[in-house]
């Protein structure tokens, strides 16, 4: 089911949670709403489900307007961050709930319901847990039950509100791969809310980056990661080194000449330019190989994990920067704390920021 969000605004008192948000989701797509907490992503999801009503704007599901439609008529499956399983019902009864509350005329027979529950529990690999209660399951199992329960009513749209937020890192990783496979099997339109950029980039077909009630950028994971539309998106999608200075002085700033950079700023120009470089886009060398390089001192080496992270201090400006190297490159360089290296940005992005 395709989704069209048309200029939706939502306020809670004086606080604007969603500010004129528009969005289109194609049928069968899995889209992630990504942003820091308080950016309005959960509110948007709840508006799509019908749990909240927008103050302005309209919602279309499959081309038909549903802004004023009741939740039960929208046929959406909703998965809550804290599972919201019915604690007094067994796993099987939880999954069957959506079928047993159907009007008698549409309700399947008891045996058909049981069959369906078995199928769904098979899908989420929890057949053995049918007679357990939610309190007897682990977090990951509970969320899978919640997913099976939401799928039981054959929704045309699946809405997931931070579904893996309450789980530990390892389970979270497993579950999101599993969710992606499940989505590929079922071809159901899905919207996933998350504040974890790794999760969004890994699972979603497209990512909607939100900030303070606004959509900052919409694009495929590659697009938003490789070509962030603005400094917020750049910062939110990964670690970053920031160099201040106007564009003509950007190189000077990167080279670490603060005098030149600030001289450029002093001539009354209202715009300010910043250069963003990801830690893995900084190249280190022991000797000068390129005029673009600047000198820095190694302060700290963190070699745990698959990549080595270094903290360097730019000699001319005393700014701290972060560099990420592969293990091999690190061994090649054989760097020690306190040594001086030449740094060169392989890839950079410059943004213009209005000076406040």
């Amino acid at each position: 089911m395709s989704i069209q969000v048309d200029h939706v605004t939502k306020r809670f008192g004086a606080f604007t949670v969603l500010n004129d948000v528009s969005l289109h989701v194609q049928e069968g797509e899995l889209v992630a709403l990504l942003g820091p907490s308080g950016c309005g992503k959960t509110t948007l999801l709840r508006i799509l489900a019908g749990l909240e009503r927008p103050d302005d704007g309209r919602i279309f599901l499959h081309g038909a307007e549903v802004t004023d439609q009741r939740i039960s008529e929208r046929r959406v499956g909703f998965v809550f961050q804290h599972y919201a399983l019915f604690r007094h019902m067994t796993v099987a009864d939880n999954v069957a709930f959506g079928l047993t509350v159907l009007p008698r005329a549409q309700r399947p027979s008891t045996t058909r319901i049981q069959e369906k529950v078995r199928e769904l529990l098979g899908l989420v690999q929890l057949q053995a847990m049918a007679d357990r209660y939610p309190s007897q399951l682990s977090g990951g199992q509970r969320q899978r039950v919640a997913l099976a329960r939401a799928l039981a009513v054959e929704p045309k749209l699946l809405l997931l509100d931070e579904p893996f937020g309450a789980l530990d890192a390892k389970v979270r990783k497993e579950l999101r791969r599993w969710l992606r496979r499940l989505h590929d099997e079922l071809h159901i339109t899905g919207i996933l809310v998350t504040h974890d950029q790794e999760e969004a980039l890994e699972v979603a077909d497209r990512v909607v980056v939100m900030h303070q009630g606004n959509v900052e950028q919409i694009g495929t994971p590659d697009e938003v990661y490789e070509h962030p539309a603005n400094p917020f998106v750049y910062r939110f999608l990964g670690d970053v080194n920031v160099f201040h200075g106007r564009v003509s002085e950007a190189r000077a700033a990167v080279q670490g000449n603060p005098e030149e950079a600030s001289a450029g700023l002093a001539d009354g120009v209202e715009e300010h330019e910043v250069t963003f470089v990801r830690p893995h886009d900084l190249e280190l060398n022991r000797s000068r190989t390129n005029p673009d390089q600047f000198e820095a001192t190694v302060r700290y080496v963190l070699s745990a994990g698959s990549r080595v992270r270094l903290e360097l201090i730019v000699q001319s400006s005393a700014q701290t920067i972060e560099v990420e190297l592969t293990k091999e490159r690190y061994r090649e360089l054989d760097l020690r704390e306190g040594e001086v290296v030449f740094v060169h940005p392989r890839h950079r992005q410059v943004f213009t920021i209005p000076q406040s």
């Binding site: 039960s72 809550f80 019915f86 007094h88 067994t90 509350v101 209660y133 309190s135 007897q136």
Partner: protein, 302 residues
């Protein structure tokens, strides 16, 4: 080697003494509690039954079988039968509103619900005299329309309802607040109607606390003296509830009958406490359980 284990032993003992009192203090404290309870609770309780049975079993039974006593028992049961269901309904509705919605005046509502507990029951009764009495605000209008509230069943029921308002609501509000709205929202997104959501999700989640509140409310409704005393008018066989009947008998120096009826109320209290204990066991076990068997048991009681 030996000295090491001894040191360890000493260590354990030392840690122990940090968190628990010495055996002597422990025994003294327990003894003090029992002494206190015996003096102020068990002896008076025993005295009620001893006094009631002083004239023999026949006199004891006779105390209930006379018309006035039977009328008092009937009236008490009737009042409770009206007041308790009404307050149960009100309690669920109020707790629902407070826990699941945000609205202006929520704190005021919570405070208002607690008010009957803070006000002396006599004053609760006087409020109704002020309202419905011959010189009260609504008195003349009521007299004109030939409606009797004071010194009759409606007044007694109203006073009892007023006094017992908080019991169910107070049990449910914190529980429903802690349970949040997510399960209800989940039910709605799964297509349940409002009624289905309430019957199949909300009610099962609150049933033990609701029952607990109802038990307390019932005990208070049957035992209420002050408020009812003010509005009842003490008409024998007509507007006397059991506690009022006890008072009248006692004032007439009919100790045996007074204590016999009192023993009935005492029995009610004991039954209430037992029921409360059973319900309490259930309220605290089903939601968060580590032992699977107990979870299954708690869950299977529907």
């Amino acid at each position: 080697m030996n000295s090491v284990t001894m040191a360890a032993d000493k260590d354990v003992q030392w840690k122990d003494s940090l968190t628990t009192e010495s055996p002597l203090v422990r025994r003294l404290l327990i003894a003090a509690v029992f002494f206190y309870l015996t003096l102020f609770l068990f002896i008076p309780l025993a005295a009620v039954f001893a006094e009631a049975l002083q004239g023999g079993l026949a006199a004891y039974v006779e105390s209930f079988l006379n018309e006035d006593a039977l009328a008092a028992i009937r009236l008490t049961l009737l009042v409770a039968a009206v007041a308790v269901p009404l307050n149960a309904l009100f309690g669920v509705a109020a707790a629902w509103a407070i826990a699941k919605f945000d609205f202006v005046g929520k704190q005021v509502l919570i405070t208002l619900i607690d008010m009957p507990l803070a006000v002396s029951p006599v004053i609760s009764g006087l409020i109704y005299v002020l309202l419905f009495g011959a010189q009260g605000w609504l008195g003349p209008w009521l007299a004109e329309h030939d409606i009797t509230i004071l010194f009759a069943l409606p007044g007694i029921v109203l006073a009892t309802i007023f006094v017992t308002v908080p019991f169910v609501a107070r049990e449910l509000i914190p529980l429903m607040q802690s349970q949040g709205r997510e399960e209800e929202e989940a039910a709605i997104t799964l297509g349940a109607s409002g009624w289905q959501m309430f019957m199949r999700v909300t009610l099962p989640n609150i049933k033990w606390s609701l029952l607990y509140g109802v038990i307390l409310c019932n005990a208070r409704a049957m035992g209420e003296f002050g408020a009812v005393s003010v509005v009842s008018g003490h008409i024998r066989g007509l507007t006397n509830t059991m506690p009022l009947h006890v008072e009248i008998l006692y004032n007439e120096y009919n100790a045996v009958s007074a204590f016999a009826v009192a023993s009935l109320l005492t029995l009610l209290a004991i039954v209430t406490l037992a029921a409360k204990a059973i319900v309490e066991r259930n309220t605290h076990s089903p939601t968060i359980v580590t032992d699977p068997t107990s979870a299954v048991q708690a869950g299977s009681i529907r």
